[in-house]
């Protein structure tokens, strides 16, 4: 019977990737000290969804980076709720609705 299992729906790859990263445990200091790392390297991912309208100019790297980060945060925020266990109330309500459905006993 569905409910329990169906809650474990497959998450899109990128989301799984996000959540698999030990919950963003990247240290701020490390990231900042890594300012010499090449960050403009174009690597297309889902995150680019957020910035696809920006022209591909190296001068916009900084903005790209920020938008990418905001986009990732946005998804994290959303996905945190998605990944919360669904309160029983929801399924209870649906179950009750099922009983009062027409054509059903």
């Amino acid at each position: 019977m569905g409910p329990k299992r169906s809650l474990m729906e497959p998450v899109p790859l990128f989301r799984r990737f996000l959540h698999s990263e030990a919950n963003w445990n990247l240290r701020r200091g490390r990231a900042l000290s890594g300012e010499n790392t090449p960050r403009g390297r174009p690597r297309e991912r889902d995150a680019e969804n957020m910035i696809e309208q920006l022209p591909p100019s190296a001068a916009l790297d900084e903005a790209r980076l920020r938008q990418q980060a905001i986009g990732a945060r946005l998804r994290q925020m959303f996905d945190e709720v998605v990944n919360e266990p669904v309160p029983d109330e929801f399924l209870d309500i649906l179950r009750q609705a099922d009983k009062r459905s027409p054509e059903k006993g």
Binding site: S6, L32, R39, Q68
Partner: protein, 201 residues
Amino acid sequence: MPVGGAARPVRSAAEDEAFKRELVQLIPHLRAFARTLCGDATAADDLAQDAMMKAWDARNSFQMGTNMKAWTFMILRNQFYSEKRRSWRQTQLDQEAAERTLVAVDDPEAPVALDELRLSLGMLPPEQREALILVGAGGFAYEEAAEICNCAVGTVKSRVSRARRALHAILDDGAYDRDGASAGDAMRSILADAERLSTVR
């Protein structure tokens, strides 16, 4: 309250069952979308439950095989805006609500940035916020978001882009509505993620 109406052919129990399975799978997404609209977690769950029931009642009008997620999101959104007239909605996230929606994350710094993002989102005009959420977090194509919001695709695109710019500016200036934490910290923490995104394979 049934939207589907009895005039339509009633589907078989098996079809109802299939519909319900799909609907149950969507509950987490409905909750998340509702949370972004309401801010307040309790109000959001009420909204999500209402939307779920409306979807269930209207199941006969749903064409199986089409995008049920978009369909239910549209129902939820309509519900939200009709409820809004009863004005339980908060335009701004109050601090308590923001706290309640916070989820513990391993990184002690991450919640700060998340919190700032939430508060900043709360400052966006609702139509920009929902467009950004749908496209940026909900995984909808512009076309689908346009359908959900009942507007033109171009409108969604411009809302998303304006929302991004505004969000960026709010976070950058620390103009979000909260004392205490420094905005620079939030942006730095967010940037740390960007660094990670560009270096992690």
